[in-house]
């Protein structure tokens, strides 16, 4: 089974044809087209390695009313992703080999993208006792990323042990940095606006205090730490400092933290309620700067689906979280590529290559070269589209971008040569 992508621009470069045979890139450039090959007119489209999300919530098992592995990965494929890491805060929590293998298998059965389950750091994400990290690493799911995301591993001694323990299998602890005692009942970024709106504040210092602590711990025990959803200027500075020392720290930023600010809370519309919260314009500028200069290694969506009743209510009782898989590439194009802060090659590094590297996914984030798996995404950078919540492939509708116009559209996503997503109107021969 072969496919030819005609006239595509790999990493935004000069047009070329890409020949895919049996799930592998067979030729690039002026290719010899086999007679039975399916032809795809990709004129004007940019080809990137299939995107890899290091931070997604697929909600299954336990919260299938919000999302399932099937619906979540289908949305991921529509967003150009060929691999996603499914966070562990499910019900039951993914803290045993059994649960992570279940999630892994569900991903395989759905077939839309590879699902790499994230294992919880602590049993039940209760922050008390280490989960069986080794068993999860050895399981069929081959877990390498561990996170209590949703909660912070707050106990310093426990975090130290976790960092040390995962060295045995090249694992990484992904920390949700939020000092719990400073954020009791917190609803939005702490600042003049939270005081005005009467919403309990979530101070930047509560994130930065944990970031500082954990980069020091990671350096001390010489183990990798990954900082989830960096949201403040102070965190970016701390990570920059850590990297200048050569310490084993990586970091991610979400698309919404690249684009949206706390002012949206004025509407009291819980679509804009998220953890960590939307911050100030200064913080948004700092994370963009950090992503551009490599201080922040990757973009990760923190796709967090919620059923309607969890958002159709007053702010204080609404759930935290926003959808992200289907709009991630467009938001990064809007905030980083179109203004000239990143090239398409730079975007590929941050949304495919580096996430695969951090997650130790051998077959993703590969170069667009002969012999590599044909896991790619074709992007049409020129279109503008208005985001409509009703059109989402996710089971949930809590996107903060509803009604917004965003650039770029995914034309096709290929997972090992199979199209997992194709926009309507794509030409096949």
């Amino acid at each position: 089974m072969s496919t030819v992508l005609r006239g595509v621009r790999p990493l935004g470069g000069d047009p070329a044809d890409i020949l895919v045979v049996d799930g592998v890139i067979a030729d690039i450039g002026r290719v010899e087209v086999p007679a039975d090959a399916r032809q795809v007119d990709a004129d004007g489209l940019i080809a990137l390695p299939g995107l890899v999300d290091l931070h997604t919530h697929l909600r299954e098992p336990g919260r299938e009313d919000a999302e399932t592995v099937l619906t979540g990965t289908r949305a991921a494929a529509a967003g150009g992703f060929t691999a996603v890491h499914a966070m562990a805060n499910t019900d039951p929590v993914a803290d045993t080999a059994g649960v992570v293998e279940q999630v892994w298998r569900l991903g395989q059965e759905a077939g839309y993208c590879d699902v790499a389950p994230v294992g919880a750091v602590t049993v039940g994400i209760a922050g008390q006792q280490l989960a069986e990290l080794g068993a999860m690493a050895d399981s069929a799911a081959q877990v390498r990323v561990f996170s209590d995301d949703g909660h912070c591993v707050a106990d310093a001694a426990l975090m130290r042990r976790a960092l040390e323990y995962v060295k045995a299998f090249d694992g990484v602890i992904a920390q949700h940095a939020q000092e719990p005692s400073l954020t009791v009942g917190a609803q939005m970024n702490e600042g003049a606006l939270s005081g005005e709106l009467g919403l309990t504040g979530w101070p930047a210092a509560a994130e930065e205090a944990i970031v500082a602590r954990d980069i020091l711990l990671a350096a001390h025990v010489d183990s990798r730490v990954h900082i989830c959803h960096v949201s403040t200027a102070g965190s970016v500075e701390l990570i920059r400092w850590a990297k200048s020392k050569g310490w084993p720290v990586t970091a991610e930023v979400t698309p919404h933290h690249l684009l949206l600010t706390e002012d949206l809370a004025r509407s009291y519309d819980p679509r804009f309620k998220v953890n960590p919260p939307l911050r100030s314009a200064g913080d948004v500028e700092a994370v963009r700067e950090g992503l551009a200069d490599g201080t922040i290694d990757i973009v990760a969506t923190d796709h967090a689906p919620h059923p309607a009743e969890a958002k159709d209510c007053e702010w204080a009782v609404a759930a935290f979280g926003m959808l992200g898989l289907e709009t991630a590439l467009s938001v990064v194009q809007k905030t980083m590529v179109d203004p000239g802060r990143l090239t398409w090659a730079g975007l590929a590094e941050r949304m495919a290559v580096a996430p695969a590297r951090i997650g130790r996914l051998a077959h993703h984030g590969r170069p667009l070269a002969v012999g590599e798996p044909a896991s790619l995404v074709l992007v049409d950078p020129g279109v503008q589209r208005t985001v409509l919540a009703q059109e989402s492939l996710s089971r949930s509708r809590n996107t903060p971008y509803a009604g917004l116009e965003l650039p770029g559209a995914i034309a096709m996503t290929l997972l090992r040569g199979q199209a997992t997503f194709a926009a309507l109107g794509e030409d096949g021969a």
Partner: protein, 310 residues
């Protein structure tokens, strides 16, 4: 005026209109028949998710004096206690045909949600949402001050207490500033919100320094039920540093008045003798509350509403 959600949204003219209208409502209490037919046929729902007999009865009396039908929907004794959502409650009221909903809720922004989510077409009056705003309280406070001090332009008002958690403080600061008064908030630094330097008021931590210049002092209830811990070391220290007692009363100018939104913690932020002294207008505030709420309901419902225009 379509809704009354916050004093921050009121223009100076709108605020003065409410106060002047309340003055006219005051003449009503001189009559034998204390009723006006103006809101006959209108239905006002008191939707109280938080306990408050005082405010609820004030609104109820205001609505009834204007001949409106009143329904009290409180969190206890209805399906709300089983956890019916704000949205479903609102849809139920809409189906029953309420013209105005007076809502008190523990979540900041709840009134705003009711006004903008598209669940109801009623006029919304915010009777207190979380720690955000309590506009009718500020209006009745300003009405009371105006009665004793005249025009509030240039007057100095001191607000003392837990500003961080106080919707009364926020509403008062916005409204008094709009009316031209100069406001100083006083309290321990732990009870001042981050960013208060952006508010249109001065901030002080020393009560004794602020009193000699004040034309009016509002003591806020120190709300034990809203606090977790460590905002101040003890009730005794709070009362000593920020409580209004008879000694501090003597440092106030002779014409100055003392207000409190109630309910009072006698012995904490205010001593019994100050609460009951002749400079305290606390009881008068309650009566003025009915007048101001009558004015608000009249201005929201007394004329045409959108449905009738269509």
């Amino acid at each position: 005026m379509q809704h009354l959600l916050s004093t921050a949204d009121l223009t100076r003219d709108e605020a003065i209109l409410v106060l002047d209208t309340a003055e006219e409502m005051a003449r009503l209490t001189d009559r034998a028949i204390k009723k006006l037919p103006t809101l006959r046929g209108r239905t006002v729902v008191n939707l109280f998710f938080e306990d408050s007999t005082r405010t609820r009865t004030s609104f109820e009396l205001a609505a009834k004096r204007l001949s409106a039908d009143v329904i009290n929907f409180s969190a206890k004794g209805s399906s709300l206690s089983k956890g019916e959502s704000l949205k479903d409650t609102a849809l139920t009221l809409e189906a029953m045909g309420s013209d105005a909903i007076v809502v008190r809720h523990s979540a900041s922004g709840a009134a705003h949600r009711l006004a903008t989510a598209g669940w109801v077409s009623s006029r919304i009056v915010n009777a207190g949402d979380g720690t955000h705003e309590h506009p009718t309280q500020a209006l009745l406070d300003a009405f009371t001050m105006r009665r004793h001090l005249g025009d509030l332009e240039g007057r100095r008002v001191v607000i003392v207490g837990d500003v961080l958690h106080s919707r009364v403080a926020r509403s008062n600061v916005h409204l008094l500033h709009r009316l031209g008064a100069h406001v100083t908030v006083v309290g321990p630094p732990t009870l001042m919100p981050v960013g208060i330097d952006t508010w249109p008021c001065s901030v002080g931590y020393d009560l004794d320094a602020a009193l000699p210049d004040a034309d009016a002092v509002t003591m806020l209830r120190v709300q034990a039920e809203r606090m977790t811990a460590s905002y101040f070391p003890s009730a005794r220290e709070y009362a000593r540093r920020y409580g209004l007692d008879a000694v501090r009363l003597t440092t106030l100018p002779d014409h100055a008045v003392v207000l409190h939104p109630g309910p009072m913690n006698r012995g904490m932020e205010i001593t019994a003798d100050v609460a009951d002294c002749d400079r305290s207008v606390i009881v008068e505030q309650v009566g003025n509350g009915v007048l101001v709420r009558m004015a608000v309901l009249y201005l929201l419902l007394g004329g045409s509403t959108e449905e009738e225009d269509r």
